[in-house]
Amino acid sequence: MSIRLATKLNALALYAIAAVLVAAFYFQIALGELPCPLCLLQRVGFAALAIGPVLTLRHGPRPAHYGLVIIAALIGAGIAGRQTLLHIAPGDPGYGLALLGYHFYTWAFVCFAVAIAASAAMLVGEAQFEPPTTAVEPGLF
C-alpha cells in the first residue's frame, strides 16, 4: 500500500468519525436524545479514534498511529459492550432510540470493531511505512 493511498484512507476515516459524531449531535439536539454517561464515554472513544489518522495525515504513516486507533477502539468497544450487555435481557426495550433495529450503543460496538479490523488491515500494507526513496531503475550495466 502506497503512502498516498494510506493518506487517502486515513482522511476517509476522519470523515467517517466526524459523520458519526455529527449524527450523535443531531439525535441529541434535533430529536432530544440525551446521552447517558456511557454514551458520552463512547463519544470520547470516537474522538480518540481520530488522533491516529490526524497524526498519519500530518506526520506520515507509522505503525504506532494505528496502534493508537486500536487502543481507543478497544476502550470504546469495552464501554459499548458493557452498555449492550446491560440491556441484553429478553424484554428489555433498551436505552433510547433505535436505528435500523439496533440501538446506538450496539452500532457503536460495531463501529469500534470495524475500526480495529481496518487498523489491522492497514498494518498489513507495510510499504507505507518505508521511507520514500528515489528508486534507481536497473539498467543494462
Binding site: P37, L38, L40, L41, V44, G45, A47, A48, A50, I51, V54, L55, L57, R58, H59, A64, L68, I71, A72, I75, G78, I79, R82, L86, H87, A89, G91, D92, P93
Partner: protein, 52 residues
Amino acid sequence: MDFLVVFLVLAASLWVAWTGVARIALLLFASAMVLTVALYLHHATETLPLSL
C-alpha cells in the same frame, strides 16, 4: 465537569497532533485514555435504573 475535562484533553490532543509535536499528542492521548477508564470505572459502580 469531569466529562468536560476529558473532551478538552482530547481536543488539545487533536490540536497538538495537527499542529505540533507528535510526542506531546501521544502524552495527551494517553492521559485522556486514563481519564476515560477512570470515568468508566466510576460510573460502572453506579446503580443503573434498568427497565426490568
